[in-house]
Amino acid sequence: MHVEVRGLTKKFGEFPAVNDVHFSIAKGQLIGLLGPSGGGKTSILRMLAGLETPDSGDIVFHGTRVNDLPPQEREIGFVFQNYALFKHMTVQGNIAFGLEVKKWPKNRIKERVAELIELTGLSGFEKRYPHQLSGGQRQRVAFARALAPEPQLLLLDEPFAAIDAKIRQELRAWLREMIDRLGITSIFVTHDQDEAIEVADEIMIINKGNLEQKGSPWDIYKNPETPFVAGFIGESTIVEDVSTLRGFEQAADWPGTKALIRPEYVEIGQANEFRLLSATETGRVRHLHFRGSEWLVEVDVGASRLVTYRSLEKEVLHPGEEIQVLVHRAYLFNDNDSWIMENRLKEDPMPVHI
């Protein structure tokens, strides 16, 4: 289903939960609504479902305005954060509920339930009650229940929040595969950026009721449009005065501008590890944290402290050691503007052509 939202606004008392949000979603896409808790993601999802009434703005499904339709008539499936399974009904009963309400014939209900139980890998659990299932299984029941009446749009509110980290990985991949197979337009809410990046075709970053940016995960990572997005996606450190770093001296032309530097923008090593030594400067290792698959290194450069990763294959560093630091790029922002600045010295001043 093609979804379009225009000027969506919702206030809870004085608190603006959602603030003039516009977006449109093509059929068959899987969209992640990402942002900090309490930012308005869930309110948007609930308004799409008809569980909350917008103060103003239009919600359009397939070219038809649905603002005045109750949730019962919107042809949506909704997976709740804590699943909201009917606790006095079995797995089967939960999945069949939507079909019975819609008065499907008995034999078709039976077929559809069997099909979904097969699809979600719940065979053998049909007669169990929700409290007899694990978190992951409950999640699947919620998913099957939402899908049973063949909705046009699937909405998922923090679908993995209540599940152990390990199973969460598995379920994410499973959900992605399932939605690909069914080709149903889906929107899910999450506060976990890894989850959004891994699963979604497109991400919408929501903060304080505003849609900050919409785009593919790679796009958002590469070209954050607002400081909030830049800081929210990926790891980063903020440098107050970036003009003190080598290669960024011209940043002094914009007073009051701060810089955001990601670990992967920074390279460290002994002098012999760099091809362009002139672009580097000297720093001192402050701390080393073993991260399981790599080192996380904190380096002091002048008055700034930067964070970067270092491969375990390379020579081991020690705290206090002097090393060379190369900052490839920085994301600069001030109150009105934000842009990416590359290290000027990295462009070889005297290229040697072989």
Binding site: A49, G50, L51, P70, P71, Q72, E73, R74, I76, G77, F78, F80, N82, A84, L85, F86, K87, H88, F97, G98, V101, K102, R145, A146, A148, P149
Partner: protein
């Protein structure tokens, strides 16, 4: 220390709760089986017990239905503002604060034969005060909060998510209520109903004032006990009281059962 406290508690319970019950059981048999049977099968006793039963049934049905609906509105309704809900919620408790005698007096004041409304109704052939409708009204007033106070916390606790899930699956209000909400609240409703029955069965002050305690007309079991005591007819009073007490003990067992079902 432990022994002392347990012992003391047992003594208090035995003296305060056990002794009176035992005493009334003995009292009812003081004139033997015949006395008991006579006390109970007097025509006025039969009539009074019948009145009580009628009031209990009507009041329980009405207040259960309205109580459940009212709780649903107070917890869920989007058309009531939060401030309004809080106000209504505190008003619900008022009958707890009102002495039953005052509860009865209110009805006499508003609907008695001397009032405009009462006189009008009487001309239409409907008598409220000193008749069955007034007694039912008084009991309705007194028992109004009981179901609501049991059901509301449960509704708040289960939250609205299951109901919302049902609505996104296409179920409308009525279906959602019976298939999703009701199974979660039914034992609390049962508990509230048992409390209502107990209170309606035992209501005395309000009914006494409203009914005028007219034998064979508006006399209920509790007001009959009162009248018997006033007439020093203790053995007969005992017989009726024993039946009422046995009813209460039965209700107490039901209460325990409903409580265990609710928690289980």
């Amino acid at each position: 220390m432990r022994r002392l406290w347990i012992g003391l508690t047992c003594v208090v319970f035995a003296l305060l709760l056990g002794a009176p019950v035992v005493r009334i059981a003995i009292g009812a048999w003081s004139e033997g089986w015949e006395g008991f049977r006579h006390g109970l099968t007097r025509p006025e006793a039969l009539h009074a017990l019948g009145m009580t039963a009628l009031i209990v049934v009507v009041v329980t049905v009405v207040n259960t239905a309205f109580g459940v609906l009212f709780s649903l509105y107070l917890v869920r309704a989007a058309w009531l503002r939060e401030r309004m809900k809080r106000l209504l919620n505190s008003i619900v408790d008022l009958p707890f604060a009102v002495s039953p005698v005052i509860g009865g007096l209110m009805i006499v004041l508003l609907l008695g034969p001397e009032t405009a409304l009462g006189a009008m109704l009487e001309r239409g052939g409907i008598q409220i005060a000193y008749a069955l409708p007034g007694m039912i009204l008084a009991t309705l007033f007194v028992t109004f909060p009981l179901v609501i106070r049991e059901v509301m916390p449960v509704l708040q606790e289960i939250g609205s998510q299951q109901e919302e899930a049902a609505s996104t699956l296409g179920a409308y209000g009525w279906t959602t209520f019976w298939r999703v909400t009701w199974p979660s609240i039914r034992w609390s409703v049962v508990y509230g109903v048992v409390l209502t029955v107990a209170r309606a069965l035992g209501e005395f002050g309000a009914v006494l004032v409203v009914s005028g305690n007219i034998m064979f007309k508006t006399q209920t079991a509790t007001t009959l006990v009162y009248q018997d005591v006033e007439n020093f007819n203790l053995a007969s009073a005992n017989a009726v009281a024993l039946v009422l007490a046995a009813g209460s003990v039965g209700l107490l067992l039901l209460m325990e059962w409903a409580k265990s079902r609710r928690e289980g």
